[in-house]
Point group: C2
Chain length 306, copies 2
């Protein structure tokens, strides 16, 4: 029997094959932006969002191919947000995952353009799931087209001003403030991190034909996963060892950064992570499908020491 | 009878009302990015793309409301491209239409984020045309949903790496080269300028139910308009008076910039503008609908002295 890590690695390899199918060929007068896009997407990473999408799709019995463009699209959206975050005017990061960041390699103008291009191409890619060029439109069903539109709507909303971009904005604003409320911090965690996890899992559920109530429970489950992941980040900044984290511990405290831990205390934070994580697993167990791997994945994300 | 200018002004006012309906309210923890978005969109401008979209829609008999979110969306896409173009790493412009550019007012980070937010929100807005939350999906028709998907596909493609972003990329690349080919220059004009005009007019035609052949002729018509407009720009840089243009004439030549005129000569350039413009009008006249205003609009765009 495969270990969790072996199973995880095999799934990552499959996902990277899917993503690769949708990346643009590097040719034409616009070649450099295509190279910058592919460089950014192929920089590695856990492929967590497409994985959560596919696992949730299968949990609800999904067996088609229409999930694939959405898996590639969510990774493009996640990647564009990293490329723009790394820009000099934002976090000014020169390295990510041991490689030079996109704007360092291709220049700042193409860092901006490659990010724009990835966001735009994410929607082009999702639209490939719609059988637009069919000769026999009468064979299509209204429910099928509505499902694709609903999935796109969730992706767009959770990536935008009422999702990820909203969270990034509130985060930048918070850095300028001497005090923030617990409510504002939760808004940041919910939108900056949880929103794209929600988009991933909700899209998987919607495309598999899950009902409205089921999609709502998946939204709650994904919220818990995203927020628990962020609180665990804050906890590890206090309790982690420098060796495990690969960065100085206590850096949040030193920078005067307000985190879930500074606002709620270490014990309450640990209890909250446990509660959110347990609820997420309970929600998954309430569905009839096999959520074995998904549960292990969630626990590995939250119950970690780095 | 209203003059063309009066008619134009009245239409611009109507379009600005439509756009205003789809802009986000400025509230919540992400307020600043919403303000930056609205500041950018409300900076004025000719509203040319939504106007071409609506006029083409009506040319093909369109009478519904589903065009409105697309009109707002194309202006959001056009605006985000200007906001990002103005950034220090791109053209580094401090003023646009007499107002400070977005990054000057809100800072560079929010210049980047507001552009991202507008691009993303353009897709959220288009998706509002899809009756996703209907209780009676059986009343929807497959053709209706396919039309919306086709319009979104054209918008996404023409805005992206095989459209506007592709043209911007080739333009930045061309600036570094001592010589460019006529083919590359046409690629830039076609994609940087004509592509969004194509998106506008094709979307109008598709949503009004035009056939595949009609949409193709509209695509050609919009190509001609966009390319003629750009060549006219190059011509005016040589022949215009400084007073008309509000900028130094001959600036392209002085900067060593290669333009349609430097590559093809002034006389050939004028002939080409005339040819493209005449063909565009002929295409419009080949349709049964009333293209009176549209023809005047096109002539005013191309046959100008500033």
């Amino acid at each position: 029997m495969m270990s969790f890590q072996e199973e995880l690695n095999a799934k990552v390899a499959q996902i990277e094959q899917v993503i690769g199918k949708f990346l643009p060929p590097e040719e034409g007068y616009q070649k450099v932006v295509l190279e910058a896009m592919n460089y950014s997407v192929l920089a590695g990473g856990k492929r967590l969002r497409p994985m959560l999408m596919k696992e949730t799709y299968e949990l609800f019995g999904g067996m088609g191919k229409e999930i694939e463009p959405f898996m590639a699209a969510i990774e493009m959206i996640h990647t564009y947000s990293l490329v723009h975050d790394d820009l000099p005017a934002m976090d000014d990061d020169e390295y990510r995952r041991g490689r030079k960041t996109t704007h360092v390699v291709y220049g700042e103008a193409f860092g901006i353009l490659a990010g724009d291009a990835l966001l735009n191409f994410a929607f082009e890619t999702m639209l490939k799931a719609v059988p637009i060029h069919t000769d026999e439109p009468e064979h299509l069903r209204v429910e099928q087209l509505l499902g694709l539109a609903k999935a796109m709507e969730v992706m767009a909303r959770k990536a935008g001003i009422y999702g990820m971009i909203g969270g990034q904005t509130a985060d930048i604003e918070a850095e300028k403030m001497s005090e923030i409320s617990k409510e504002q911090l939760l808004f940041i965690h919910e939108n900056k991190t949880a929103a794209l996890i929600q988009a991933a899992m909700m899209t998987g559920a919607i495309l598999a034909g899950a009902g409205v109530g089921e999609v709502e429970r998946i939204e709650k489950c994904a919220y818990n996963i995203g927020v628990a992941f962020q609180i665990q980040d804050d906890i590890l900044d206090i309790t982690g060892t420098m060796e495990d984290l690969g960065k100085p511990i206590g850096s949040d405290e030193k920078n005067g950064k307000q985190t879930y831990v500074t606002l709620n205390g270490l014990e309450n934070s640990k209890l909250q992570v446990e509660k959110l994580s347990r609820e997420a697993v309970e929600i998954l167990e309430s569905f009839a499908g096999d959520s074995g791997f998904l549960k292990k994945l969630i626990v590995s994300l939250i119950d970690r020491n780095k």
